[in-house]
């Protein structure tokens, strides 16, 4: 197939582009929960975002109950791209949508979460469990910061953590429980590390993300840069659990690869216009 950049990769680009475009309103009723002056918009648009996203997924998968929720209640094995696209659609809507759109999206996720319950290894779990929600939340926020720091433009960590608290609240976490600065975010993650483990599902997830099947050799070459960037960005305990070593990476090379990926994303119809809507609002802010 010479038309695409590789089956799943092209599919993912196409579907996350569609999600992104749909999430950026043409005539927003309000600035949403973050707004054009926020650190959150800055981080979401950082060149490093794909690395941050993959890092977050790899960290999240290491919590056996969080992983079990996905594994036992979604068809991610049959349609991994669909699952990733749905997540990116949700994140984009909460970030760039107006409040009504963000509320609708969050309500939908909360409804789905109500049915995501079960047991794993004899241990009961529920997707509405604040600890699991906060694990997913904290690793995402932590990854956004790590990505910017390593491969993008560093962001104000405390401000970002503070702003992002609302996204955990939207999913039903009581506000006092949500980390409100960078230190409390780190310590929350650290306290959960002893609970983490590499389950077979986590191993499969990592294998898929780090080495997506069906990529052309040429794409695989480029993906290697991104993968190495993700690995080097992971906390040491995560690498240990996966049994992986931190590779050597050159920042310039990673940024170049991210730039190419971004150019491909920009090549999807409508992405440029959606970005311009964001830029114009950020400039007006």
């Amino acid at each position: 197939m010479s038309s695409s950049y590789g089956a799943d990769a092209a599919d993912l680009v196409e579907r996350s582009a569609a999600a992104f475009i749909a999430a950026v309103p043409e005539q927003p009723a309000d600035d949403g929960y973050f707004g054009p002056g926020s650190v959150t918009w800055r981080v979401a648009g950082d060149l490093s975002a794909p690395v941050a996203g993959l890092r977050a997924l790899l960290m999240q998968a290491l919590h056996p109950l969080a992983m079990a929720g996905v594994d036992q209640h979604s068809d991610w094995r049959q349609d991994p791209v669909g699952r990733l696209a749905a997540t990116s659609a949700y994140l984009a809507t909460v970030t760039f949508g107006d409040r009504a759109a963000a509320d609708r999206a969050a309500a939908r996720v909360r409804r789905v979460h109500e049915h995501v319950r079960g047991t794993f290894d004899g241990e009961p779990y529920s997707a509405s469990d604040p600890t699991l929600l906060l694990w997913v939340h904290s690793t995402f926020v932590d990854s956004g910061l790590a990505g910017c720091e390593l491969f993008g433009t560093p962001a104000d960590a405390d401000a970002y953590v503070r702003e992002m608290a609302i996204s955990a609240a939207l999913l039903g976490v009581d506000e006092p429980l949500i980390p409100s600065d960078a230190d409390s975010l780190s310590s929350f993650i650290t306290t959960l590390v002893p609970r983490l483990a590499l389950t077979p599902a986590a191993q499969e997830t990592a294998a898929y993300l780090l080495d997506p099947p069906g990529m052309d050799d040429e794409i695989a070459d480029l993906w290697e840069e991104i993968r190495n960037a993700v690995l080097i960005s992971l906390p040491p305990w995560a690498l240990d659990l996966y049994g992986l070593a931190a590779p050597d990476v050159r920042r310039d090379e990673v940024r170049g690869a991210l730039g190419l990926l971004d150019a491909v994303f920009l090549g999807e119809p409508g992405v440029l216009e959606a970005r311009q809507r964001i830029t114009l609002r950020m400039r007006a802010a």
Binding site: M1, L47, G259
Partner: protein
């Protein structure tokens, strides 16, 4: 999903066919021709001239054109001579990317002028128009009037772009990976070398200024060819100033009478081949955005960012080829010249008839005298032949790197003349220009050239 992908693939194929079909070529790929003429109307490059999105700081420029995007943009501009190798997805990406670059804000453009020319543009020029009138490949064009009253076009480069692109080009491992994805069928190392050489040349406007002045000097006094002179005191590495030119765009020309179109076409034809055979130089960017049209066949040629100079040794076999095929009708000598140029392997096990059969199409318009109308289908048959990897000659044929740019004669010039349905006795015009014939003037335009040629000869002797 599959349905949509198939649709996109089909669109990609359609685009590829369009690219090979002369007539629709420019219409279909208009956005990628960013190195537009100085007078590209505001509407033609909407994105570039959107002031509300203007880049206001060096950081804005880095975010928009850094991390490989500037390189990709340049690759997109050069795509017309690697068209056959680019995947449809790559072509689409490159074309969108070219659309995505906004202009500099007035203050950012002004800061580049200050850096390059030592003072604010309002101080340097009697009048300075802070709004760009056109997008250029890695910069934009402003209008100004000098203190001594000359109207000029000032091309200003995005700050930091040269350094960013140079750094990205230096990232060889990544560049090779990128080219393997975008142009899997191409010789990646050859392409990379060509890209680096070309882009590096284009980043320094001083080279462009030298080339443009060379052409301006050569054609000074020519009845219909006009090349705006450089204003050296307002030119530097990132700013190049030339006299302001006026004229109609290509799109307006297609609505004029056949006689007017023929004259314009003849001027372009003479320009391309006089430059090649006499100056040993080829302006590698023959696309409609780089021409402004006046009456009576007058054409102003703009943008000399991509000029290839040939050595005598490089030109000689080209001249021999045309001579042996079209004038002396000596197939064996033609074949020998092809081998000498490196187009054909010395011991290729193919008959000379086969060689002639494959190559003749490139000389179709000049093998015999007589009026001929250039058509889109001729241009596209030439392109197809160029890209015909299934011909019996293909395994033994090569295009040496120094001639790669000549593909643009086929892709650009013939397509353009086809768009104009230009009619002339191309053979007689060519005979005027061929150094081994130097035939008498064959058209009124040829007559009008006589005075210019004797002046020019006198100049060269002086």
């Amino acid at each position: 999903m599959t349905g949509r992908r198939r649709l996109r693939f089909a669109r990609g194929l359609a685009a590829a066919r369009l690219a090979l079909r002369g007539g629709a070529r420019y219409a279909g790929n208009a956005p990628r021709y960013l190195a537009a003429g100085l007078f590209a109307a505001a509407g033609e490059h909407r994105q570039q001239l959107r002031e509300d999105l203007a880049l206001r700081t060096a950081e804005d420029v880095a975010a928009t054109l850094g991390t490989m995007k500037g390189v990709l943009m340049k690759l997109g501009q050069m795509a017309s001579y690697i068209d056959d190798g680019l995947t449809p997805a790559a072509r689409r990406t490159l074309s969108r990317l070219q659309d995505s670059v906004p202009p500099m804000s007035p203050s950012l453009a002004s800061s580049v002028i200050r850096q390059e020319l030592g003072d604010a543009p309002e101080e340097i020029f009697a009048t300075w128009d802070p709004s760009p009138i056109a997008a250029a490949s890695i910069g934009q064009v402003h209008r100004a009037i000098t203190r001594d009253g000359r109207a000029v076009a000032v091309k200003v480069q995005y700050p930091g772009i040269a350094e960013m692109i140079a750094a990205d080009l230096g990232n060889v491992a990544l560049m090779r990976k990128m080219l393997r994805i975008m142009a899997p069928s191409q010789d990646v190392d050859g392409l990379l070398a060509e890209l680096r050489e070309r882009i590096t040349e284009e980043l320094d406007y001083r080279l462009e200024a030298r080339n443009q002045q060379l052409f301006a000097d050569y054609y000074r006094g020519h009845p219909t060819i006009h090349v705006p002179s450089i204003v050296p005191e307002y030119s530097g590495q990132r700013v190049v100033t030339s006299e302001l030119a006026d004229g109609a765009r290509f799109s307006a020309l297609t609505g004029r009478s056949a006689a007017e179109r023929d004259l314009a076409a003849e001027t372009i034809y003479r320009f391309v081949f006089r430059s090649l055979y006499e100056m040993h130089a080829f302006n590698g960017d023959p696309h409609p955005g780089n021409y402004l049209f006046g009456d009576g066949g007058r054409v102003t040629f703009l943008d000399f960012g991509l000029v290839k100079h040939f050595t005598d040794a490089e030109i000689a076999p080209l001249v021999s080829m045309v001579k042996y095929l079209c004038v002396e009708q000596d197939p064996a000598a033609f074949r020998e010249a092809m081998v000498e140029a490196g187009f054909l392997l010395a011991d290729a096990p193919v008959s000379t008839e086969t060689v002639i059969d494959h190559m003749a199409v490139f000389y179709d318009t000049v093998r015999t005298p007589g009026r001929r109308t250039m058509t889109g289908s001729y241009a596209s048959s030439v392109s197809r032949k160029f890209f015909d990897f299934h011909s019996p000659l293909a395994p033994y044929a090569r295009i040496p790197r120094s001639y790669v740019i000549l593909q643009r004669i086929n892709l650009g010039l013939f397509a353009l003349l086809g768009d104009l349905s230009a009619t002339a006795d191309w053979r007689r015009i060519a005979e005027e220009i061929w150094p081994f014939v130097q035939g008498p003037p064959s058209t009124p335009l040829g007559e009008a050239e006589v005075a210019w040629r004797s002046d020019a000869t006198a100049d060269r002797r002086a």
